[in-house]
């Protein structure tokens, strides 16, 4: 034995040969392999396992599974602490350290227990009313500090969690008799099957009862069926809960204690797509509602049975069993056989005579037609008040009926109907692709479970497994909570909601169940209505003189059980958080001391070296590139080839600019618009051959441009005459820019004639590098003479190194994204998304030609002629020459003051201190900016005001002479 309530024999789930040690609230205990933390605590006689959320009342274990509302614990194993676990679902392991939640220092001796004495001042919603004056925010920090349950571990969790996608023909949620029969039938029909159950072994309720299927005891049959299923290729997951149904039938299944590897969370998240789902999740026993029904020792009758049968734990020696149905009688019999003194209090006026006779014959005291009036004892049950009689007792097992576990059915938009015969809401109209079977469908007897499960799995009529039991009458008569109780009786144990709270909500007109839930917190948190909802609905119905169906239910939302954030995050953390793309020459940049950053989904050099003064390093890169020659890795720019006889016509349609007039070997700058006429991307297009174009687009837009091209190709073109190949990853590109760039490219010996007459600005030539294809393009993002050299990706590092070495005598300097951006700004070259916004059209950027001249159709054309597109107050790209030596703030507002009320007429999009010009420069989008050229405006930024003149956006070399310098 490991504790005062552990029986000398029995307990199907435990291995008495394997003792385990653990602590709870600092005290050492022991249990056995196969125990849950809850069963081990009960076995050790631990009555108080937590404190209630609001009143800090002592709470004991109520249930035996995922329905447990009270026994929430923080569990530490090794260096990892997991908060708010249900003790009933935590398998006991050696060295486990558990702490109660919402208690200080321990659940046994909680210093906040005094709060319960002031309960009358703390009704539902009290803080909505109490803390209004002078200001809610005055109280909020303290209230928030008191709120919450578990505590996070002292160190941030940095573990990864496993996530697995699965696709099956049939997912069965629940491996009780119904679920197993469904899986068996489907598997026999050749369907791929996955079956999940939150218990440690398949069988569900069979483990707690003495029932026979196919001539074998229930647990034995379940194990045999599970083995047959696995032999047939089915997947069986235990300790796994189907917690949510999401779009398109995706089911989330959390498998607990599944992974045992350093640095990994023990949970595994399964993302299951099934052609069909069978929900066989069973039913949850409801509490009876009477004064002080939350005392430690008041438990679910089925849980008491489970602890006795599965873990050899007899929670009391003098047990009162309270019920309004027949299901509690087998429990009473089991308890008597285990040596307990049992009194059954049956709320019903009549009990089936045979049941009553058999029960009495076992020595059970039977009190028919009576009710529990109260519970004696504060820290544990010491007695039960039945009518005028006080019965000495140390445990009260209660059954108020069963609530089918329909959460997933409802999450999938299945409907419910009220079944008065069962006093329960059961599935009505089913959700597409989902069937419900067994107790979840209101079939509470074994024969029906087996039959329904077999049918749900597609089994033939009359071929379901044979059940040998004498039948399980149910015979429930509702014992719903009634209004008007003078003492507090709990509806929701976890959220401390009593009948008085529901009555208060009704008085204050929170009669809708959704309002009731939010006003009282009923059914929130891990409970999700598992034990509380039906009693609450029934009480609200009684108070408001409505039926239960008229009251309705709240919306069921995932998750059904708590899911750790680590499981949701999975492996998407640290360097796996973001699938950044890598440049083919990244490591060459690293060797040069590049500082890297994420730009448009790529890890790219921001600048090179520079020590603590990065700005100085960037300025130096600009000056070197402007004065001698700079090297820039442009490999991330999109390189999409468009091929086919209709390629030119296709690109004419895609681009704002006409493309078809481009000659092979020439390049053109262009805009790509959205259908609404707004600029989506800019880039250059090169015509490689009559039927072959190269579309270069922004690094971060490549995937979007590709998708748009494919979309339009399929939508509006003959796909047999134009195709699109994304070759971005196959080519590395190094831009060589500056007055000495031609000399450097010549030094490479690419076999390209670099004479400006042969290869002018916006020209393209083919060459060879290291015996492989190379392309040389005369395009410039800096405004200086530039060459973009593209080679097969694997040669990019080699090309880079060759340029560094050949460029050393020429003063070649690598430059990063920041220097490039600065040089672009000096030239007024925009960056789409930075110098444009969600309204910017090409004519706002000064490019009006295609709109005015083109007569053919292109994407976005129609939108360019709408009234709004031609309004006089559009924000247009301008330059801003600021007074003073400091650059303007990025995002600073431009305010117009000339005789008008000051208002924002635009904002700064790009701002730098230009090292080339020695003064601040800025680009901005300013309302009707082109007409305001020369005007002085105020620039407001973070409380300061500057003056700036509106100028042309090109600050450097407006005639473009440097392009051929």
């Amino acid at each position: 034995m490991t504790g005062p309530t552990r029986l000398a024999t029995g307990g199907r789930a435990i291995d008495r040969a394997q003792p385990l040690r653990f602590t709870f609230d600092g005290r050492a205990y022991s249990g056995f392999a196969g125990d849950t933390l809850a069963s081990a605590l009960l076995a050790n006689g631990v009555r108080i396992v937590g404190r209630s959320f609001k009143y800090h009342r002592p709470r004991g274990i109520y249930g035996a599974g995922v329905e447990e509302p009270n026994a929430l614990v923080d569990v530490t194993l090794g260096e990892r602490t997991r908060p708010n676990l249900q003790a009933t679902t935590v398998p006991l392991t050696d060295g486990l350290v558990a702490r109660s939640v919402n208690a200080s220092p321990t659940a046994e001796a909680d210093r906040f227990a005094v709060i319960d004495r002031f309960a009358k001042f703390l009704p539902a919603g009290f803080y909505y009313k109490t803390f209004l004056w002078p200001n809610w925010h005055l109280f909020e920090p303290r209230i928030r500090a008191m709120a919450g349950l578990g505590r996070l571990g002292p160190t941030p969790s940095d573990v990864k969690a496993d996530q697995v996608h699965r696709s099956v023909d049939l997912l069965v949620v629940g491996a009780g008799p119904a679920g197993l029969c469904a899986a068996l039938a489907a598997s026999a029909a050749g369907r791929s099957v996955m079956i999940v159950d939150d218990g440690p072994a398949p069988g569900g309720a069979l483990h707690a009862h003495d029932q026979t299927i196919e001539g074998s005891p229930g647990p034995v049959w379940a194990a045999e069926v599970a083995q047959r299923l696995q032999d047939a290729g089915a997947t069986l997951l235990t300790r796994s809960t189907g917690f949510g149904v999401y779009d398109h039938g995706l089911v989330g299944v959390l498998e607990r204690e599944a992974v045992d590897a350093p640095g990994w969370a023990p949970e595994r998240l399964h993302l299951v797509r099934a052609r069909q789902i069978v929900l066989a999740a069973g039913a949850i026993e409801r509490p009876l509602v009477f004064p002080d029904n939350d005392r430690p020792g008041v438990m679910s009758a089925q849980a008491v049975q489970a602890y006795l049968t599965r873990w050899g734990v007899l929670p009391g020696r003098r047990i009162v069993v309270a019920t309004n149905n027949d299901s509690a009688y087998p429990v009473a019999s089991s308890l008597v056989r285990a040596g307990a003194t049992v009194t059954v209090v049956d709320y019903r006026p009549r009990v089936t005579p045979t049941i009553a006779d058999e029960t009495r014959a076992m020595g059970v005291t039977l009190r028919i037609g009576e009710r529990i009036e109260g519970v004696m004892g504060t820290r544990a049950v010491t007695g039960v008040q039945v009518g005028a009689t006080l019965i000495a007792a140390d445990c009260l097992a209660m059954s108020g009926g069963f609530t089918p576990t329909v959460h997933l059915h409802c999450q999938a938009r299945g409907k419910l109907r009220y079944d008065g015969r069962l006093a329960a809401l059961v599935p009505g109209d089913l959700a597409p692709g989902m069937l419900v079977a067994g107790a979840a469908n209101g079939a509470f007897d074994l024969q029906s479970c087996v039959f329904e499960g077999h049918a749900a799995g597609g089994g033939a009529m009359g071929r379901s497994p044979r059940v040998t039991s004498r039948g399980e009458p149910f015979g429930i008569e509702p014992a719903w909570p009634e209004p008007g109780l003078r003492r507090r009786a709990w509806i929701d144990f976890q959220n401390d909601v009593t009948t008085k709270d529901v009555e208060l909500a009704a008085r204050e007109n929170y009669r809708s169940v959704e309002h009731l839930k939010r006003y009282t917190t009923l059914g929130m948190a891990t409970d999700q209505g598992k034990t509380a909802n039906m009693n609450a609905l029934a009480l609200m119905a009684a108070i408001t003189d409505r039926s239960i169906p008229e009251v309705g239910t709240t919306t069921y939302r995932p998750p059904f059980t708590p899911v750790p954030f680590t499981a949701i995050v999975g492996m998407r953390r640290g360097t796996l958080m973001d699938p950044l793309k890598r440049l083919p020459a990244e490591n060459a940049h690293r060797r040069l001391g590049a500082r890297l950053d994420a730009y448009g989904g790529w890890l790219r050099p921001r600048c090179y070296g520079g020590g603590p003064d990065e700005a100085a390093a960037i300025r130096a890169e600009v000056m070197a590139a402007r004065g001698q020659v700079g090297l820039f890795d442009a490999s991330s720019l999109g390189k999409i080839e468009v091929l086919g006889p209709d390629a030119a016509r296709f690109l004419d349609f895609i681009y704002y600019n006409t493309v078809s007039t481009l000659k092979p070997g020439r390049i053109r700058y262009g805009f790509m618009l959205r259908e609404n006429g707004v600029v989506y991307d800019d880039g250059v297009l090169a015509r490689l051959a009559e039927d072959r174009f190269l579309v270069s687009c922004s690094s971060g837009h490549t995937a979007g441009v590709l998708a748009a091209l494919e979309s339009w190709r399929h939508d509006s073109f003959d796909t047999r005459r134009v195709v699109i190949h994304d070759l971005t990853a196959g080519w590395g590109t190094i831009a060589v820019s500056g007055p000495r760039s031609r000399r450097l490219v010549e030094a490479l010996g690419l076999g390209v004639d670099l004479d400006d007459a042969v290869l002018p600005h916006m020209g393209l030539a083919a060459g060879l590098f290291a015996g492989r294809s190379a392309r040389v393009a005369r395009v410039s993002f800096t405004g200086d003479r530039s060459y973009e050299i593209s080679v097969p990706a694997s040669l990019t590092g080699r090309l880079w190194q060759a340029l560094i070495e050949a460029g050393a005598p020429l003063g070649a300097t690598p430059f990063g994204l920041e220097a490039l951006s600065l040089m672009r700004a000096e030239k007024g070259y925009i960056i789409v998304g930075r110098d444009t916004d969600g309204t910017t059209m090409p004519h706002d950027l000064g490019m009006t030609g295609p709109r005015d001249k083109r007569r053919d159709e292109f994407v976005g054309r129609r939108s360019l002629f709408l009234e709004a597109a031609q309004a006089g107050n559009r924000r247009q790209l301008v330059g801003l020459a600021a007074e003073g030596d400091e650059p303007l703030g990025n995002g600073a507002h431009a305010a117009y003051l000339a005789g008008e009320r000051p208002r924002s007429i635009g904002y700064v999009t790009t701002s730098y201190l230009s090292p080339t010009l020695g003064r601040p420069i800025a680009l901005g989008l300013v309302e009707n900016g082109r007409a305001r050229l020369g005007d002085m405006i105020d620039i407001h930024h973070l409380g300061s005001r500057r003056r700036a003149r509106i100028v042309e956006p090109c600050f450097l070399d407006p005639k473009g002479e440097r392009l051929d310098a």
Partner: protein, 178 residues
């Protein structure tokens, strides 16, 4: 100053990279890879007469084969021998071809957990019966795009070179638990 390069490890050098000794084995290889779009049957007939494109569910057992990527797109994989036509081209027969040998890196996965690797990043189970169309090998895997299909007793993955480091790190993480 902030340097993301200290957060992200250096990019993987694919030459000789392999993961071994786990539930799966991953080896990077460099065959010839050619993208054919448009009239793919005509393209295959011209480039590899007699070859038919296969879907990702079919078990491929040849050194030279074509796997379907989309409705009018296949990837032709063949040993890296002979002259290479690097430039893309449109053919009068109605197809275009591009060499993707530089764009894609091929990883061969073998071992008992090879298919479990695929299940970590996406919902496609290539051991399941193939759809009537035969399916296409382009799929998303943990936020990146992969070409994946059955090859002999394992799988072959093709990933764009810029995403190789990420995928390789993912595979390394999978290896810890598979």
């Amino acid at each position: 100053m902030h340097d993301a390069g200290t957060f992200w490890p250096p990019a993987l050098d694919p030459d000789g990279a392999r993961l071994d000794g786990y539930g799966f084995r991953a080896v990077i290889e460099a065959p010839r890879q050619t993208l054919i779009s448009g009239a793919v049957e005509a393209g295959l007939a011209a480039l590899r007469p007699g070859l038919a494109a296969q879907g990702p569910y079919a078990i491929i057992d040849d050194d030279t084969y074509a796997v379907r990527l989309g409705i009018d797109r296949v990837l032709l994989v063949s040993p890296a021998i002979g002259a290479l036509r690097e430039a893309s081209a449109w053919d009068a027969a109605g197809y275009a071809s591009s060499d993707l040998g530089e764009a894609l890196v091929m990883i061969t996965l073998t071992g008992p957990a090879a298919f479990d690797v695929l299940a970590r990043g996406g919902g496609v189970d290539l051991r399941a019966p193939a759809p009537a169309s035969g399916g296409a090998a382009m799929m998303r895997h943990a936020e990146i795009t992969l070409i994946a299909y059955r090859y002999r007793d394992g799988l072959r993955l093709h990933v764009e070179r810029p995403s190789l480091s990420y995928l390789w790190e993912l595979l390394g993480a999978y290896a810890e638990i598979l």
